[in-house]
């Protein structure tokens, strides 16, 4: 598949936007007119052609711009990429997973040649041609996880499994929705999920952890999560709160369509072979309200979801300041007609 990569920004002048095709393939996360937390885990099976689920690792028109944004974040704050020493095998596992998947599904853009441990990687969109020895960190310009995740869309966390828990011991987190790797590193599954309201009492995390501890090689799973962002900013980290926190106060009835974005995270989890670690990928997709309402079903449904979502949840996701304004704006696109089940546009 040949992609055309857009030139756009996720900061300052915010030139990010979605093409018509990108809107059609947006992973709209609501299959009903209401939303509540659940153990929404499913097999990460290949989905319909052109959808973000077609391939295990989805590369799209925003690839080059997102990688540029990641480089800018890392330049200001190298701590967004951290890895404890015992995670080195998992880092190499990740190199294999990402390079294999990208090269297999996007051969026009990426190419991998393996001869034993002698690997040759070509990344055409970013102009990279790298020969290295698999397993030998000295042969790459960056440590293995940092090297490959500077070239792959989405944030990544590597979880070590021990003592019947998962530990966030490694990650490349530059486009997160208000959580911090620097804070979470070394924490376990229950600890890093502690700030989430309601879900714990519903037993969501207990069941999800039990499931993940038995995650099998070759059988990845995925789930969708969502939040909202003012302006198409990828880096909404606590570290940078001063830059984006005040954006939330700038929403007016006139600018909702442009400024308010639904942000969906496609989270996929794989068991890694050599390390027995799990990789958790957080691939974020953003869509402005103007773009969203071009799909009438999504407009109706998102209006209802946002209007009715529980207060604790809205507060946790940081929606409270602009929720009413956005719901009022969306109301114009909701004629009250019933919506069909499922995610897809009608």
């Amino acid at each position: 598949m040949t992609l055309h990569f857009k030139k756009e920004s996720f900061r300052d002048d915010f030139t990010f936007s979605n093409s018509r095709e990108a809107i059609r393939r947006f992973p709209f996360p609501f299959e009903k007119d209401e939303y509540m937390y659940s153990v929404n885990i499913e097999q990460h099976m290949p989905g319909p052609a052109k959808s973000p689920f077609e391939f295990p690792i989805d590369i799209d028109e925003h690839y080059v711009a997102e990688m540029h944004d990641r480089a800018l974040v890392l330049k200001e704050d190298p701590g967004r990429c951290q890895s404890l020493p015992h995670m080195i095998t998992a880092e190499w596992d990740l190199v294999e997973l990402l390079m294999e998947s990208m090269a297999k599904h996007y051969p026009e853009h990426f190419q991998l040649t393996r001869d034993g441990d002698a690997w040759h990687w070509i990344n055409r969109p970013l102009g990279i041609d790298q020969r290295f020895t698999f397993g030998d960190t000295a042969t790459l310009p960056h440590p293995p996880m940092e090297y490959i995740t500077r070239q792959c869309q989405g944030d990544f966390a590597l979880l070590d499994q021990r003592l019947g828990n998962l530990w966030m011991d490694s990650g490349m987190i530059t486009g997160q929705a208000d959580w911090s790797l620097d804070f979470d590193i070394g924490m376990n599954f229950m600890e890093w999920h502690a700030p989430v309201p309601l879900a714990k009492d519903m037993g969501v995390f207990e069941r999800a952890l039990k499931f993940l501890l038995n995650l099998q090689q070759g059988r990845p799973v995925r789930r969708l999560n969502w939040t909202m962002t003012i302006n198409p900013r990828l880096d909404t980290s606590p570290e940078n709160y001063d830059k984006w926190g005040r954006d939330r106060t700038t929403v007016t009835p006139e600018n909702v369509g442009d400024k308010v974005h639904l942000r969906v995270e496609l989270q996929a989890m794989w068991r890694l072979p050599r390390s027995n670690a799990i990789v958790f990928s957080i691939r974020a997709y953003m869509i402005s309200m103007n773009e969203l309402v071009t799909v009438p079903k999504w407009a109706r449904r998102f209006h209802r979801v946002l209007r009715d979502v529980r207060g604790e949840l809205a507060e946790y996701k940081g929606l409270s300041r602009y929720r009413d304004t956005t719901v009022a704006w969306l109301a114009r696109y909701d004629d009250g007609a019933p919506t069909s089940p499922g995610f897809a546009p009608d």
Binding site: T89, G116, N214, Q216, Q217, G218, R219, P273, R274, S275
Partner: protein, 319 residues
Amino acid sequence: MSGVEIPVRVTEIEQATPTIRRFRLARTDGGTLPPFAAGSHVVVLMPADGRTIRNAYSLVDRAEDGSSYRIGVLRTQESRGGSRFMHENVVVGSELRITMPVNLFPLFLPGRRHLLVAGGIGITPIYAMAEALRRTGADYQIHYAVRGEAHGAFITELRERHGDRLRLYRNDRQEILAMSDILPNQPLGTHLYVCGPAGMIEAVLEEGRAAGWPAENLHSERFQAPPSGNPFSVRLARAGITCEVRCDQSLLEALEAAGVDAPFLCRGGACGQCAVDVCEADGELIHNDHYLTPAERAAGKKIMLCVSRLAGRELVLDL
């Protein structure tokens, strides 16, 4: 439910000791086998006459080029079929199937030092763990108890790779693997891993606890086979199927023989995958697993299909 299966062919068999054979397994299509983390096992599916035997075997190693795995199989005295099949029916060229590797006995990677303790066939996962530690330059020791030199299937290879990190204890020379010599004076953050006969595992863990080691630093894997018992019948409430569990059959095996695709991973009571809700039981549940908590056992609401049974007439499951 049982996951991805890989067809393999036996390419080499070695009589490593009078009772242990080592098998080299390669993909029948000539492709590469997935890398695995030390401590992993696969379930080997054996086409015995009229039924499929499924036994877990730890992975010893993977060829450098990824073309094959090795496993080591002890011929057990009272085999109901699996280990006997591997020893008597499997020849070079035999075709078997294996599942993807699963790891229930992982290394504690951030550990400061690793003490690997093996007895007899328990060396299979320990062999892989030692190799992984050697490759990453970790601090480790191997303590390996065998009947005699002829019984150490792995002794020569281990010596070559690990030199004096290997301590051998030969029963025929009255050399005793005494934990009291090993446990004291280890640095904080040392982890101990033991695999071998059930009695040995219990003793090592007990001594570790008695010496004040935290439970989290003591790791073990039991090569448990589903124990036999009395026959009983099982009814699946949702599927509406009833079948008999013979005395030499596990509940899981009986369901599989009846064509039910029941969930499993380890078939040894360790992973928790085969837990099923109990609707009714007109007898006592015999829990042989290492997974359910004492409270869960007492509640009698769950049973592990792979190793547990009923002492009674009929068990009704939510399946």
